[in-house]
Amino acid sequence: MSEPFGTTGPIDTTQPPPSSEAAPPPAARARRFWSPRRIPAALTALVVLGAAGLLLYDVAAVRAGRSAMQWRKILARELATRPLDDLWVLLGAAVAAVAGLWLIVLALTPGLRAVLPMRRDTPGIRAGLDRHAAELALRDRAIAVSGVRSARVAVGRRTARVRAEAHFRDQEEVRADLRDALAEGIRQLGLDRPPRLALRLSRMTKE
């Protein structure tokens, strides 16, 4: 199966690719990843299909000489008798307007907020890093600084918030080391828009 491709064993990646050795040219801005919006589309299609299918069935049944289903008679009567300022009509209208606005928002926004676009310095590959992966990598960086006991990281689209707890060494030294380590960590993530660092360091309270 793997014959046409030669090696399948462990692959040596220590050799850098020939072109990335030179200073990479200023790559174009990486675009956000856009969700295909499969789930909202499937749900909308399902609702339209159900409603149109049911109505079509009933209309055809009535044409064929059977009597209309109960729900259609009730619906026609309610639509023809309830005034517009009826609470249920207003409620339904408000729900429809909000749902419509929501669908428009879904259609216009990219979605996939958990995927952070990476710098486009590898030609031919468009890559995105999961937010969670970035958080884990930064947490590991923070934990490796001596004096840091624990760290919690939340990476947003613009800011990486790090809350660390120190348990020995001078607080200012730990802060400086942490800042350097995290700056290096953020740089190594290779993101197109490296998040700004917001660091909060607290001293562990003695028992």
């Binding site: 491709f5 990646t13 309830r82 209208a93 749902a99 590898t122």
Partner: protein, 198 residues
């Protein structure tokens, strides 16, 4: 492609819902009179005591020859269209075959699954990658790869991408005789506990 199509249809559906909802709210809350603006003559509601869909509107065209065929056709189009839209979401546009340039003019094809399997195996062999899922889409002579990688704790994302390009994708591209094999990669992490041991 599917994404753009979905977004257009979602926006249209949303506009219809929003327009209907707002129209009923304007009528029901009597906003025209309260806020002092007027709507065009074709405006369907005459005020808060009007109804959504009166009996006379419902049976207005009933005696016309074309009415029932038109209703049934419209509903039928809606049913078929929405069914097709729904199925388009379920169907993965995965490539079954990739055409291989054998160099002697005769055409050869490679099963898409086979190429996907090889790409996944080679990606998993990269340093710092614990797992990989690969799918191919696009056309058979211009395939595109989609990869989801699970990164190990010590992985360096930039290095992984470089390896992906220079080894994995380049091998596959060269072996299949393709002009290019563009790829989209999503890098995830395997969750792990914090540990100070390097």
């Amino acid at each position: 492609m599917l994404g753009r199509f979905n977004r257009i249809l979602l926006a249209l559906t949303g506009l219809v819902l929003l327009a209907v909802g707002l129209a009923v709210l304007i009528g029901g809350l009597d906003l025209q009179r309260r806020w002092g603006f007027t709507m065009p003559d074709q405006w369907p509601f005459d005020g808060p005591k009007d109804v959504l869909f009166s009996d006379s509107a419902r049976i207005r065209y009933r005696s016309e020859q074309w009415w029932w065929p038109a209703v049934i056709t419209a509903l039928g189009v809606l049913v078929v269209g929405s069914l097709w839209w729904l199925l388009a979401q379920l169907r993965g546009r995965r490539l079954r075959q990739v055409s291989v340039d054998s160099g002697d003019g005769s055409e050869a094809v490679l099963r898409g699954r086979a190429l996907e399997g090889i790409l996944a195996a080679e990606t998993e062999a990269l340093d710092g990658v614990e797992g990989a899922r690969v799918s191919l889409n696009g056309e058979r002579d211009t395939p595109r790869a989609r990869l989801v990688l699970a990164l190990a704790p010590h992985a360096d994302p930039g290095g992984v991408l470089a390896g992906l390009r220079s080894v994995v994708l380049e091998n596959a591209r060269a072996s299949a005789g393709l002009a290019a094999l563009p790829a989209e990669a999503r890098l995830r992490a395997v969750s792990h506990r914090a540990s100070r041991v390097a």
